[in-house]
Symmetry: C2
Subunit: 338 residues, 2 copies
């Protein structure tokens, strides 16, 4: 079957049709399974495709169907360091999931409020749908996407009430982790340090923390909670104040804060877990590698990615999908709280 036609350049639909003495249409139908084709013809086509090593020209297909078979993924470019492993794992499972359904994944970088890459992709119509890995707080990405009628799914909460979202159970997770800490410590000694409260994750975590106290029937004391804390001087002040007022167990809002906290405690001559216990939320492996390893809540980056991707593809293909999907978490209890 390696005839003169197929030599040199890639076979195309026409070549298959000619080799089999049938029409392009039939071949197309046999491949897509859309129209009716006799089983025999279908098999002949499939065999021929294999022999001639045919693979469709996706650009032509795209053009004809007015579909790109690409999805865009908006990747935040700030805060890269701590969150990179999370985002990358997520990205990889998105691309894997898309590949399985014959879609490709194009990267859309987003620095701060710079949406130019997103605009470019929308203007050039090079994606059939978009995943927002961390929506901006002003909802500007969603607005842009809605205007262009581009299907999208966000990872994490969105300001757009109609957005399809996939998120981790931040509040429940934090509640459960806090409950564990309350069981093993004097409730009045359990403290919390959180970053920017503009971010929904932090508000959810706060909520979970408070709820765990409520559930346990002990009052939560304002003096044990520091919110809006940035790493550095602010954090040091917070940690010192907490220690001064008898904090014996500290929950940190993210692994960045946690690493700094650990250093601050070391500088103060405090030993973990002997003098103070520490727990955190998990983005990376670095909490594992500390000595002692740090108790943490781990969210499932891979699952988050594949779930989001398949929802978006379903949305693109007009299937019915849930507006909100909440995924679970794992609690990793380690020596820092024992």
């Amino acid at each position: 079957m390696d005839n003169i036609v197929t030599q040199g350049k890639a076979a195309q639909l026409d070549d298959i049709a000619r080799a089999l003495g049938i029409s392009k249409t039939t071949v197309s139908r046999a491949i897509s399974g859309k129209g009716r084709v006799s089983a025999a013809t279908r098999q002949r086509v499939l065999d021929c495709i294999k022999e001639m090593n045919y693979s469709p020209n996706m650009i032509a297909k795209s053009f004809s169907e007015n579909k790109t078979y690409n999805i865009g993924v908006v990747l935040p470019m700030d805060n890269i360091e701590t969150e990179a492993p999370f985002f990358q794992t997520c990205l990889m499972s998105i691309s894997k999931c898309c590949a399985l359904r014959s879609y490709d994944t194009v990267v859309i970088g987003a620095e701060k409020n710079d949406l130019s890459q997103l605009r470019r992709v929308l203007d050039s119509r090079k994606a059939d749908g978009v995943i927002i890995m961390r929506p901006l707080q002003d909802g500007s990405m969603e607005t842009l996407l809605s205007e262009k009628k581009m299907p999208y799914v966000t990872i994490g909460q969105s300001t757009d009430p109609d957005a399809v979202i996939v998120d981790s159970a931040h509040s429940d997770g934090c509640c459960e982790l806090t409950a564990y800490l309350l069981m093993n410590n004097k409730p009045a000694s359990v403290g919390l340090v959180l970053g920017d409260m503009g971010q929904t994750v932090n508000r959810s975590r706060y909520e979970g923390f408070v709820k765990a106290f409520e559930n346990s029937g002990t009052p939560v004391s304002a003096k044990n909670i520091f919110i809006g804390v940035k790493s550095g001087i602010q954090l040091r002040a917070a940690v010192e104040e907490l220690i001064r007022t008898g904090c014996g167990c500290l929950l940190c809002g993210d692994d960045m804060l946690c690493m700094d906290t650990v250093n601050i405690l070391a500088a103060m001559g405090k030993s973990i877990p002997r003098d103070i216990r520490v727990a955190s939320f998990y983005n990376s492996m670095y909490l594992d590698m500390y000595s002692p390893p740090i108790t943490a809540l781990k969210f499932k980056a891979g699952e988050l990615g594949s779930t989001t991707a398949s929802l978006l593809l379903d949305l693109i293909e007009n299937k019915d999908i849930p507006r909100e999907t909440i995924l679970g978490f794992e609690m990793l209890i380690r020596r820092s709280t024992m």
Copy 2:
């Protein structure tokens, strides 16, 4: 200019032509700058495009030119944790650089030896060129790309002697860092721990280490060098042996080994830098956050990405490019070696 034609759906070449009473061809030429068009016409077209908010349908353009305006980036999916920040920074600057030249960046995941995603992209012809972020040792990616005549550039050394590569000066960097260590320590007390010698980076670093000794006129002792070391028991044995034979300054092959080493030293009751000095190669910010911060060699992920991307685009556009580009490094001297 917001006439009946442009309402609802995106303007296309035809609309511009009709609005201006000229032909599609002329409009196309005015945009691309390829044929000759009078300056006046050209300006009219450009103005009209702005007013009508026209942006070309890239799929149609692709189809017609038989070009995708995509480049593929092969992203390793193993060893993700430590290298993620590096790869992600690199990926972001690739995508930024490509966007500036109207190309998009598609992700090609590569787990271990699984090249299926790469094959998919090649078969469907959805990229005009490929960047390999870390070539496999068997050169299989390069083979595949060469067979399909797909232009590519590798980050790091390739087994293919014809490959266009961009790399960091690992050997020189290691040599310089070692030289610094030799100046501030008894040469006989400077040790090295390296990972898998199958990886070219590690061979280059080894080379640089030895060269620094040669340059300083002191012999390098085999007992101070441990190669092919995996984290865990092997590393512990190596570190213990080094300490036993009087090592006072230890250079670690990557930040993973370094973090483990730091923990092992802590468990042995050794204090850094009082009892032993430690330096490493840099992939992440975690070495900065240690107390004490660790002296390290930092490679320029962003620059590596943008350089590679613009080389690949030049290659695609048939410009002449150097076969090998070596980028520099930064030495970050911190308290761990003071």
